[in-house]
């Protein structure tokens, strides 16, 4: 295991031409060949992922896929069984665990004060930074409320504020939007993008692909191993074959117009059966069908591949490979 020393290389970030003075050195953090075992059980197997400064990197997977393990290993909270971790010194890391780490019986101010103290911020510097973050997270009016009384979205924003209080070079967010509604999530995403725009490297774990699509790089984990990874557009482009949609017979038209709602049981299977189209799954009123050879299924219309399609196909192929 080698942990890179804190790098303080100064150099203009890519967008240094702009008028913002917030740009800092873009570190190149990440893990390489990382394997972590819990006892005998492997939680991560040979995972490599770069988490560059000034960008958002998403890790996608189900509960138990290893994404929390990866986040914690990058944060330095777990010792690799094999492979290496490149990360800044721990006081330059901001980490939000899935449990968010906010003290519910302290106020917003007290939470920030405590975290600031832990990172050696105090006095006027702490007050100024805390006020700035409260404004940015729109929590100023809630500054004296107990964190336990905040909504889920506000609490996650507080967790974010606590994690970036000391202006870390690497920000690790484990499912920061779980249980957060879309309005708060949009705010949270904007905050996270802001951190990346200012040069911070962001690692973001989620179980939803629609979220991961906003990141510049994506790693999909399946039982501790990489399923697919890379630029979302590249993952999509790399899918061979072709995608089709096949409408489900008897399904009420999604547009709400008159349709035959009294579906015959099994009508869908009459159109497609497993032998004809083994790679198929539902999306709304249609089947999505992937054809490895590119031949269209009966009644199929060509469809644009998206990240979700690519990941589902990869999962199905992995499952076949294992069987």
């Amino acid at each position: 295991m080698s942990v890179a020393a804190e790098s303080d290389v100064s150099g203009a970030a890519a967008g240094g031409a702009s008028g913002t003075s917030m740009h800092r050195a873009a570190g190149e953090w990440g893990v390489s060949g990382l394997t972590i075992n819990y006892g005998r059980r492997p939680a991560l197997v040979d995972v490599t992922l770069a988490v560059p400064g000034g960008a958002i990197t998403a890790v996608v997977g189900s509960d138990g896929s290893g994404k929390t393990t990866l986040a914690r290993a990058l944060a330095g909270a777990l010792k690799p069984s094999a492979g290496s971790v490149r990360r800044p010194a721990s006081r330059r890391i901001g980490y939000v665990s899935a449990a968010s780490g906010v003290y519910r019986d302290l106020t917003v101010d007290e939470n920030l004060e405590f975290t600031g103290g832990a990172y050696g911020l105090r006095g006027a510097a702490l007050r100024e930074r805390a006020a700035q973050l409260l404004t940015r997270t729109r929590l100023t009016d809630a500054h004296d409320r107990l964190a336990g009384n905040l909504s889920g979205g506000m609490r996650q924003k507080l967790a974010f504020a606590m994690a970036v209080l000391h202006e870390p070079e690497l920000l690790i967010l484990d499912e920061p939007t779980t249980g957060v509604d879309p309005v708060s999530r949009a705010e949270l995403w904007r905050l996270i993008a802001g951190a990346a725009a200012a040069g911070t490297g962001v690692l973001f774990a989620t179980s939803y692909l629609d979220e991961a699509e906003r990141a510049s790089m994506v790693l999909v984990l399946n039982r501790g191993r990489e399923l697919v990874g890379g630029d979302p557009a590249a993952i999509v482009a790399a899918l061979p074959g072709a995608m089709f949609t096949v409408p489900v017979a008897g399904r009420r038209d999604g547009s709400g117009s008159e349709g035959d709602a009294a579906a015959e049981p099994g009508a869908a299977e009459a159109v497609l059966d497993g032998r004809e189209a083994p790679y198929r799954w539902r999306r709304g009123a249609d089947w999505r069908v992937w054809s490895p050879g590119g031949a269209p299924p009966a009644g199929g219309t060509a469809a644009r591949v998206d990240l979700s399609d690519a990941v589902i196909v990869a999962s199905l192929q992995a499952r076949e490979g294992a069987a």
Binding site: R214, G256, A268, R283, G284
Partner: protein, 340 residues
Amino acid sequence: MTQSGEMPANGGGASRPASPAPPLVAVRAVTRRFGDFVAVDAADLTVGPGEVVGLLGANGAGKTTLIRLILGLLRPGNGRVRLFGEPPSRRTRRRLGYVPQGLGLWEDLTVTENLEFSADAFAVAAHSTRADAPAATRSARADASAADATARAYGGAEPLDADLRAARDQLVRDLPLGLRRRLAFAAALAHHPDLLVLDEPTSGVDPLARARLWDTIHATVEDGAGALVTTHYMDEAEQCDRLVVMAQGVVIAQGTMRAIIGAATAVEVEADHWEAAFAALDAAGLPLALAGRLLRVPGGDQARVRAALATGAVAARIRIVPATFEETFVTLATARQENS
């Protein structure tokens, strides 16, 4: 977008002129207060057979209260809630399959024991209420014995059910989340409910498992049931036939995803250095989201975007693109918040 208005009593069934059956769920002008707080304000909602209706809203928008009203766990202050044409009661509950966010499984029981319990719960009810039950076509099948129901839960055509069968003697607390979700579905579907109520049905599972759970929901719905699904995620919203969007207790939009998006647009910004563009647009206080290396300004007008970029001296290409559903939703909900 179709705003909900006065509907005939059999609104949801209107598309089935041959059948006089009432909609599965008919919520009409329902208001529910808790003290001074109006959790649900004159809401309308219909779920018909053969459709998946998605219920979306920010936290505190009234989704949970509305679901509890439909489940019969709360009574409306004003308005009417009808399930299968009657007020929520024990009789309507036996035609209902509910998967809460926490799954509602007994973690210290095995897979089989959980299935047996819910089968018993519904089978027993079927026997004790058979005399006064309406001649409901689908729920007649709920009379099957517990053993039958359990067998059906395992015997489905879905290839993934083999996993559940293999884990049948394991305690639920020892199962991975994906399998637990599948078990919750199996338990909720075993009595062939006419209405599925699913609260964030696929959270925490991987994309393939999510697709398979939705395959199950669609198969059930095509068998004649209806489904009401709450979610925060677009991966799920796009699976629904129709969406109902709530904010501050009020239904602010309903219709298909396409209809709700309507003509809403976003400004897409492509800059050589997205960081600089982000900083410029952020400073201008515009709504802003990052998508890969592109920036999006939902509902933003081109002129303001151009002005902000010029102020920051950022060179970028901009174009108008259709808004995503999530962007439309956030714009609607935010507008509602700011108006009140």
